[in-house]
Amino acid sequence: MTAKHALRFGALGYLALLLLLPVGLVFYRTFEHGFHPAWAAVTNPQAQHALWLTLIIAAIAVPANTLFGVVLAIALVRHRFPGRGLVNAVVDLPLALSPVVVGLALYLLYGTGGWLGGLAGHGIKILFALPGMTLATIFVSLPFVVREVVPVLREIGTDQEQAAETLGAAPFTTFRRITLPAIRWAVGYGVVLTTARAIGEFGAVSIVSGRIEGKTETLPLYVQSQFEGFNTTGAFAACVVLALIALATVLAMRMFRPNDASLAMPFGGRGGSAGTAVLTRFGRRKGYGAESNVVKEEA
């Protein structure tokens, strides 16, 4: 066995033991006793409510972060303003911050004695209710659309936008006809990531929800409560639902960017030498990298 093979099998073995076997085993355990117990476990009212709540939160958080993500990206790339560096850093913060800290920050802000704790007295219930859980979800999933759109906006530059302007297009027309088509794949990709994070968020939501069964329990919280209540079938079945969503996410990611290596990497992790000449030699190098995306986006 050569060094090359040793490295290959080492890497694949590590991935199998850490990723594939555990996930596979849960699928197996869920359907071990047939399809029906699993189906019953995810169709009971409590599970249904958890799934429904999860989807509602995602349905609010994802569009909000998509819309504001695009606006934020444009502001960061195309405009200079005081505090731009700070905004840039703050956008990255949710990726590096513990979800528990996020949950606590919201808990302190909207809780009794918090700056906005008075809202509850006016009948606006944020903590231990849908608004708080949604705010927590928006917080943790905020960076994804911004971080996907920013590098693409940089790559496309302003030539096309200026050309449209010289041809008499109004600013909004330029945005709709030129900028938006160019960034739509990046936006779509960011949406996929945002959705995955919104559906799967656990720590932050766990703290602001108060975890009231049948009321403020999302599907990830349901997994934990069922597991701790020794209903492993219920926990596993919910896990499988979430894992299937995750697999769909991974597939969607590949569809958006089949060749990109740095998928899902925060902080614009894509190698990002858009200007690097890609030298082709027989079977040596393919048109990987940022340029191929741009070409695809224009196609």
Partner: protein
């Protein structure tokens, strides 16, 4: 050290890059591998360097069969089209690299690097990083780096291809002089016939993975082995089955028995040389090359009727 390539074949998937290639490169020569892109010339160079292993055949450096030796054991110096500069190292560190991996003593390395930077005129830039150099400077650094290890053979893969025309010309002349000084057996790969003719003592013309002809620049120009070589090493007129160089078309204002009538379509003045584009009655287009005096004597201009005849022509039997 001479290089002998014997019946080398190399495939990439279904693509045959080298098809039974045999070439002998004499010791101390400067040989050009000339061919269009995709002809296999770079592959041949990489096989000689040890960067590709041939599917069949042999490579000999001197009398040693090195076919299955890795590049690091062959003692060749290689210069790449895109410089392959070690961008995380300074110019000095780049040039010293080969000596460092050979674990030469430090004073020796310092002396040798100094000597080479002087040779390639980069003494003042030793502490710069490659990104801070111009293309020409980067390529001279790459050359110094390849020469640092005292290679038996120097291999240059389209070394001037990425440079602009003026720098390319300068570096060619400089390479020629360098070779006269250093005398290391050198192979240069190029798709530019002018570059090959200007620099090399011997040219190997390669097309579709096969050697078409080996010879001096003059031999290739004056007695090309076939149609491909004829048209690749210089401009050519094809009249039926015969080939005529633009230089070998003579023009006169009076007809004689063998000449045919043609009209001047366009005259291009390139300093000393003048090019005339002509069209014959039968629609055949011709390119003629004249000196300025000749053109003046004829008062060559657009619309003029002239009588042309080839002073020298070539027919290839198929």
């Amino acid at each position: 050290m001479g290089i002998t390539v014997v019946e080398v074949t190399k495939k990439f998937g279904d693509f045959v890059a080298l098809d039974d290639v045999s070439v002998a490169i004499p010791e101390g020569s400067l040989t050009a591998l000339l061919g269009p892109s995709g002809s296999g010339k770079s592959t041949l160079l990489r096989v000689i360097a040890g960067l590709e292993e041939p599917d069949g055949g042999q490579v000999l450096l001197g009398d040693d069969d090195v076919t299955h030796q890795p590049a690091r054991a062959r003692g060749v110096g290689m210069v790449f089209q895109h410089y392959a500069a070690f961008k995380h190292m300074t110019v000095w560190e780049n040039v010293a690299f080969g000596l460092k991996v050979r674990k030469r003593p430090k004073p020796e390395i310092a002396n040798r690097v100094h000597e080479l930077l002087e040779l390639v005129q980069l003494e003042g830039l030793a502490k710069r990083y490659p990104a801070q150099l111009s293309g020409g400077q980067r390529q001279r650094m790459a050359l110094a780096r390849a020469l640092a290890v005292d290679p038996e053979v120097l291999l240059l893969d389209e070394p001037f291809g990425a440079l602009d025309a003026r720098v390319r010309k300068e570096l060619r002349a400089w390479l020629r002089r360098l070779h006269d000084e250093v005398h290391v057996t050198t192979i240069i790969v190029t798709h530019d016939q002018e570059e090959a003719m200007e620099v090399a003592g011997q040219i190997v013309v390669i097309n579709q993975g096969r050697v078409e002809q080996v010879g001096t620049p003059r031999e290739l120009y004056d007695s090309p082995a076939n149609e491909f070589v004829m048209s690749f090493v210089g401009p050519v007129n094809k009249i039926g089955d015969t080939f005529v160089r633009p230089r070998d078309i003579s023009l006169s204002l009076e007809p004689d028995g063998e000449s045919t009538e043609a009209m001047v379509e366009r005259v291009v003045h390139l300093g000393f040389e003048v090019r005339a584009e002509l069209v014959r009655d039968d629609g055949q287009h011709l390119l003629a090359q004249l000196t300025q005096e000749e053109a003046q004597a004829l008062e060559l201009e657009r619309g003029l009727i002239v009588y042309v005849k080839p002073s020298r022509q070539t027919v290839f039997t198929r």
